[in-house]
């Protein structure tokens, strides 16, 4: 039986209460908005790109603990990375939360706390909303992304 504590890990709760990089970036040259109509979660991701590199990142919005913590930890993990590196992390993260990962994944670092999500299929979209939004921002798409 899936355990609640596997999902709501301390780190996740802590990030949801005090999200990092929670700001609209004045200097942003890319941004995208993500929306999950099922639960009303809504985030905007701001990027300041220096050629191919994410120099600054911020996000704002409202959502459940999982989506908010995921957005917060995402900003920490992709800051300073190239577009390609960030996309690679997203794919690994996606595998992790959907249960397709290969066990321990050192490259995911702190993001490994989201492994419990795979036991809660209804919550995968919460964990990936900010990432889909990041992907859209990286693609330079201006339209809203939706996880439905």
């Amino acid at each position: 039986m899936p355990e609640l504590r596997d999902l709501y890990q301390e780190v996740i709760l802590e990030h949801s209460k005090a999200p990092r990089n929670y700001k609209a970036l004045e200097s942003a040259n890319y941004k995208a908005e993500g929306y999950n109509p099922l639960c009303g979660d809504r985030f905007t991701v701001y990027l300041e790109m220096d050629a191919d590199k994410i120099r600054e990142i911020g996000f704002q919005g409202a959502g459940c603990a999982i989506s908010k913590a995921s957005a917060s930890m995402m900003t920490q993990s992709v800051k300073g990375k190239t577009k390609e590196e960030a996309e690679k992390i997203f794919h690994r993260f996606h595998d992790l939360v959907t249960g397709h990962g290969q066990g321990e994944d050192a490259e995911l670092g702190k993001l490994a706390v989201f492994s419990g999500v795979s036991e809660f299929p209804m919550r995968v979209k919460c964990a990936t909303l900010a990432w889909h939004t990041l992907e859209a921002a990286l693609e330079g798409k201006q339209e809203k992304v939706s996880t439905e």
Binding site: L7, Y8, G40, G63, A65, R123
Partner: protein, 421 residues
Amino acid sequence: MSAAAAVPIRGKAANRSFDVERIRKDFPILQTKVHGHPLVYLDNAATSQKPRAVIDALVRYYEGENANIHRGVHYLSQIATEEFEKARETVRAFVNAARASEIIFTRGTTEALNLVAQTYGKTNVGAGDEVLITAMEHHSNIVPWQMLCAEKGAKLRVAPMNDEGELLLAKYEKLLGPKTKLVAVGHVSNALGTINPLKQMIAAAHAKGAVVVVDGAQAVPHLKVDVQDLDADFYAFSGHKMYGPTGIGVLYGKQALLEAMPPYQGGGDMISSVTFEKTTYNKVPHKFEAGTPDMAGVAGLMAAIDYMNGIGIEKIAAHEHELLEYATEVIGAIEGVRLIGTAREKAGVLSFVLDEVHPHDIGTILDQQGIAVRTGHHCAQPVMERFSIPATVRASFAMYNTKGEIDALALGIRKVREVFA
């Protein structure tokens, strides 16, 4: 009073002949275990569970009666047709319509409302006219009217509500004017539980010459509905929210209105004769029932009504009212809980938010304890906006729920607070 001091009395005190434990035995799914806990099903406003009698009716239909209706001279077709028309009569009596021909079978509330918009609406609402709805409507009683208004160049007006979730009747009456061709209103709000003062609203609309369409999806499971007493012009509801099967619903319409309306869909059964030059339509209600209907669904709906009648809708209402009062007290007393929808007249629904915890997280934690609630905007985004919240947690009750289950919900919410402490 603290919640812990409240003793579960399982609904027997005020409603002596109502035996909830016996009723629970009629619903096979209530034996389900979820994550090792007994299922506590509090998502009845989304869809109710089905008693054995309804499940059996579906099986009986396919095992002993299945044939297409109104089409064959053979034995089974005749039986199926008779059962189908008997069900229509059962529905007529259930809502006290004047005639069985005023009962049209649809897929559900949504289809019934769209039917009115596409037929009555299209022929009676024109450029510059107005359609009036309320601020607490379900999306299915908003979008069909928006589509109609966009197509016709008509205007959608919205009657507001107060912070308790009660319609502002004086404002509603002010919005009614010579341009108002149609009023579409929910009898009971699915997001807030508010019972609207329908009789007064209909009388006011009629005084201005407007026709009234009622979304009764959340009313028929909980209240005795009398369409003649209400003087409703149209009344829509779904079988699956009142212990019946999915895929079947009802549109009641006054005979004279139905007769004057064009058909909805074209096809078999809705015609009396077809040539390539000219088609004559069948009489009501068949004019609005093109194609082979959900005959098993109709049999199931009839069984659901028979089942409800067997218990007594007044007794069901009394039991649910007691549950709602108890839940309001017990859940409302939990620190951090804010009830959304505190109208004086309510049925079946307790919506709330908890501190800063997102309803989605609450839903997951409750589910781990076997408790099924709905979390989200409940297909009523404008209601969420009105209260400046993204979503609520909604517990909604049916005849088989108990005070013990509400205690379980209260315990579950305390667990949520622990996780997020």
